[in-house]
Amino acid sequence: MGNKQTIFTAQQLDAYQDCTYFTRKEILRLFYRYRDLAPQLVPLDYTNHPDVKLPYELIGSMPELKDNPFRQRIAEVFSEDGEGNMTLDDFLDMFSVLSEMAPRDLKAYYAFKIYDFNNDDFICKSDLEKTLNKLTRNELTEDEVRMVCEKVIDEADLDNDGRLSLEDFQHMIVRAPDFLSTFHIRI
C-alpha cells in the first residue's frame, strides 16, 4: 500500500513491524493513540528519533488501563526508566506483548515481572499478598490472604526456596489454559 505517511521512515516502520506483533497500519494507529494522550508533547515527525517520554499519569489514564489494578506495574515493567514514563518504543512494546499474537513464554515472562512488585526477580510472599489484594480489592481477610499465599507457594515453588522464580512461574503457566486469553489487552 502507498506509504504516504511522514511520521516514520520506511526503515523505521519495517523495523517496528519486524520487532512487534503489529502490522504497519496498527503501528500507525497506535502512534496516534500515543499522540492523543499528549498532542503538545509528541511531535508528528519521528524520523529523527526524538526523545519524548510521556509521564505515567497520562499512560495510566488510557481507557484500557485506567481501571486495571495492575496498571502501575504494567507501566513500570515496560518503561525504560522503570518509573512508568514511556517512550513510543515502550508503548509499542507493551501493547505488542499484551496483544493476542504474543506467545505464551513471552507473556509469562512479562507477567512474572508485573507480579514481582519489589523487582527482585522472585515473587515472594509479600508480592503475592499485594497481588491478591489488588485482585480482590482487599475483600479477603488477612487470614485468607495468608492461607492463599501459602498454598500458592506450596503448589508452585519447585526448588523449595519459599518464593517463585521465573522457571516456577513459567512451569505453572504452562498449565493455565486461560492465561493467553486473560493476559491480553485489546487496543
Binding site: D121, L128, H184
Partner: protein
Amino acid sequence: MDYNVNICETDIDYENLADGEPAQDFSFNPINEPETSTQNCPEILEMEVFKECTDVQSNRSSSTSDESLDREEISHLQRHGWSAATVKVLASMPSRTAELNKSRRVRYQASSHESPHCSRPVQGASVLADVEEINTEGLNFCAAENNMDQLVSSLQGLSVSEGTRKLRAMPLSLADKIEIRKVAFSLKTESSFIGRNIPCYTHLSMYISTTWRHCLFSCLPVFSSFKLWHSALKTLSGRYGTGVLSYFLFLRTLLFLNLLLFVITGLFLIFPQAIYPPRSSKADFSGIELLTGTGYFSDSLMFYGYYSNGTLHGDQYRMPAAYFFTIGFTLFIICIILVYRLSKSFGKNFQVLKSNENLAVKVFSCWDFKVSKKISVRLQSEKISTQLKEQLSEMIKGEDKKTCMQQLRRLIVHLLAWTACLISIFLGTIGVHYLSENKFNFNFKTILQAHNLPEDTELLVLSAVVSGINLLLPGFFNLCVWAEKYESPGTRVYVSVFRNLLLKVSVIGVLCYHWLKSIPANGLKCWESFVGQELYRLLVMDFIVTVVYTLLGEFLWRVFSQTILQKKRKPVFDIARNVLELIYGQTLTWIGVLFAPLLPAVQLIKLIVLFYMKERSLILNCQASRKPWRATQMTTLFICILWFPSFLGTVVTIIYTVWIIKPSENCGPFRNLTTMFEGGQMSTRHLEDAHPILKWLSWVYDCLVDNPVFLFLASGVFLMVIYFQAQVVDGQRKIVSRLEKQIENEGKDKKFLIAKLQDLCK
C-alpha cells in the same frame, strides 16, 4: 480500535465455573472430602495426587536414618548457602543460558547496574547480603552481552520468517530488538521481511486470519448478548457463588427444553388443528377457567379432547398419526439432549488431569486484562474473591475429632431427623392418595354452594392440597437440617435435595397411579382431557403458590429473622427446595404433553416469570452463604435427577398409557381404538400404503427393533465400547500419575546433584 470493551465479551465462560472444576473424584457420594495432606508435602508438585502424597510421606518416614542428611541437604539448597563456584556452574546450565526466553531483561538493569558488576561474581561473593541475585543477574548481564553476539549469530543462521519470529519472541526492549535486527540482517536490504520472500498465499492467509479474528472479536459482544440473561447471571455468580448460579443455569436449561417442546408441538399439532377447527367452542369465558382449566378451555386446543381423529385439509394430514409421532419424536429428542448433557457433565467430572484448576494457576491467570469498565472490574474482583474463598473453604475442611458420646448423639439426631422426614412424606402421600380417591367423603358441593362459589372450584381442592404439601414440607425439612447441624453447606444442600426429591417422587407417583388406574375406569366422558386438566391445575396452582411464597414469604422471613430472631445476616437462598420445584414442574409438563399439548407454553411463561422474580427476591432478601462452598457437581446432580426419576418416570408413564390403557370413545385423535399404540400402528400402515417406499422402513423395524437378538447384540456392543473407553481413561490416568512421579524424581535428582556439587566445590 474498539476500546469500549463490553462486559459480555470479556469473561471466561462462567458456566465452566459451576461444573468444570473437579476437585475430587465424582462418585455418588459427593461428601468426599479432599485430604489436606498436600500441604505437608512441599516436594509434591502442583497436581494434587493424593495417593502419591501418602506414598511420599511413608517413604520419607521410612528413611529416618537419612533425615539428618536431608536436613543438611535442604539447607544447602537455600540459595544463600551456595558458593560462587556452584552459582557459576548453575548459571551455565543449559536450561538457563542460550535459551532466549530465559535470558534476563537487559533494559533497566543496564541503566542501574554499571559494568563493574560484571567482574564481581567470582570473588568475595559471600560478603554481600543478597549475593545470589546480583550474582546471577551480573552473570547473566555478562552473559547477555555475550548473548547479544550469540543472539545475532543465532538469528543469522535462520531463515527469514524463523528469524523474525524468534526476534519478536525475545523478552528484550524494542530498542534492543531493533539493534539486533539491524546487526543480524544488515547484510540483507532494508525492507521489511514481512513483505519479501513470503509467497503470496501465506500473505493472503495471514490477511484473512487477521481479518477473521477482528470480525470475531467485534461480533463477540453481540453473540454474548444473545445468550439469554448472560449479564444477570454474571452478576449473580460473582456475588452469590456457584451454588446459586447452578440453580439459575438449570432454570435456563429447562427454559430452552420447554421452548423446543413447544415449538415442535406447536408446529405439528397445535398449528394445523388451529387452522382447521373441528367445531366451534361452546362455553363462555369466565375468569375461573384460568385456574381450573374447565369450561371454555376444556373444549379447546389446550386439551387432548379437542383434537380430531380424522384428516385435515382434505386427505393430507392425518391427525392421529401426527399426534402419535409428534409426541414420540419430542420425547426422543429430549432424551437425546438430556443424555448428551449428562455425559458432558460426567465427562467434566472424570477428567484425567484432575487438578487443572489449582489455586496458583487461578491466582495468576484469572484477572482478565481486557476488562476496562469500572463496573465490570468490580464484578470481576467480586467473582475472584468468591472463587478464592470457595476454594479456601474446601482446603480447610477438616473434621474435628469427636468423642464417642458426641458421635452417638449426632447419630441419634440424624436418625430422628430422617425418621421424621420420612414419616411426614408418607403422611403427605397418603393424604394425597385418599383425597384423590375422595375417600374422605367430603361433600364439597354443599360447602361451595353455601359460599356461592362455582361448582368447578371443587376441582381445585386437590391441587391446592398438593401445593400446600409442597410448600410446607420443605420448610419442615429445612428445620430438620438446621437441627442436625451439618458442618459443610454442601452436605446440607445434598441432604435437602434428596429429601425433597423423595417427597416429589412420592407425590407424583401417587398422582400418576390415580390417573392411570382409577380415572379411565371411572367412566368419564373424556378422561384424557380430565387428566390434562388436573395437570394444568397442578401446574397453575404451583405457580401461584410459588409466586406468593417468593414475593411475600421470603420477604417476611427476612424481616422476621432480622427483627425477631435478631440475626445480622439475611437468610441464604434455598437451593434444594427451588431446584426440586423446577424439576417437579418439568415432570408434570412432560407427563402432560400427551394429554394437553399446550402445557409447555404454560410452563414456559411460568419459567420466565420465575427467573425474574427469583432474581429480584435473591437480591432483596438473601445473602451469600457465610461459608462459601464449591458446587462443582451441582449441575451434574440436577441433570441426573432430571434424567433419572423425572424423565424416565415420564417415559414409563407415557409408554404405559399408550400401550395399555384404552382411549376414551368420544374424544381425541385415538377414539374408537383399543390402545393409542394401535393408532400409531395404523398410521404407519396407512403411510406405507400411501408411499410404498417406506415399506423398507417397517421391514427394518420388524427385523431390527422388534427383534430381541439385535437388541442384545447392540447393547452388548455398547457395553464393550463403554468398557474400553473406561479402560483408556484409567490407563491415561495411570500414565499421568507415573509422569508426575517422574517429574518429582527429576526434581529430587537435581537437588541431590546440587548438594553434591556444593560438597565438591568446598
